[in-house]
Amino acid sequence: MKQISDRAALVLTSLAGGDKHAYALTKDVQEFASVTLGPGTLYAALTRLQRDGLIERLEAEDRRCPYRITQAGREALAQRLAESSRLASLGLQRMALGDR
């Protein structure tokens, strides 16, 4: 499965909580990760994720298009989070050993 970047992981994590349009996504990521995604960065990530079939664009409401995570997106995110979790555990374990 294709590796996803940190930014893509943030976008997928946000969409895993429900469909969102770009502005709602920016605010959500800012809230849960304290990361401000610029509009260019966000759309670069959205374009790539949509091209890779990890998200889909829903019908526009007004001029805002909501995005939805796909099944492939959920699988990619799960794999990425498991890897991050494994790395975090290993890092914490080694740091604890180093403190002794």
Partner: protein, 154 residues
């Protein structure tokens, strides 16, 4: 961000991309401007830089886009420019929206602005720019009707 500026920013993206994402992208810029008006310049740099990566992904980068990409990269380093010295609006806009040095790149010289003032009340208001040139000398420039000229240096 004003609509005209947003449309200008959008124009650096490939046409096919604009067709698909253009309207919602403009809406996002409008939403962000309404919510965080102080971050306009940073967002503009972000848009230009990422437009470069999308252009490259589309494999049709134009010279203009590549130049804008370089300008965005310079902006990331903390300088807002280059801004054409013959464009009074660009100078005033650049100065009013940031506290960092503004590069004014004319055809023959480069200035780093340190302050500005506007003399209003005439049909062609003068914008006086206090700046340092590449040699580090202090320079005062008067900009009127789209043209800038140094009036003193020390």
């Amino acid at each position: 961000m004003r609509r005209r500026r947003s449309r200008l920013l959008l124009s650096v993206y490939p046409r096919s991309w604009r067709r698909e994402y253009g309207e919602e992208f403009l809406q996002l810029l409008a939403d962000l401007d309404a919510d965080q008006p102080e971050g306009r310049l940073r967002r503009a740099c972000n848009v230009i830089l990422n437009a470069g990566t999308i252009q490259i992904a589309h494999r049709r980068p134009s010279t203009t886009v590549l130049l804008l990409f370089v300008a965005g990269a310079l902006a990331l380093l903390g300088v807002y420019g280059p801004v054409n010295a013959t464009n009074r609006d660009a100078i005033v806009w650049g100065w009013n929206h940031n506290t960092n040095p503004l590069i004014i790149a004319g055809p023959h010289s480069t200035y780093f602005a340190t302050g500005s003032s506007t003399q209003e009340g005439t049909s062609n208001p003068i914008v006086r720019i206090h700046a340092t040139n590449r040699q580090g000398h202090k320079v005062t420039l008067d900009c009127r009707a789209g043209k800038c000229a140094p009036i003193s240096s020390r």
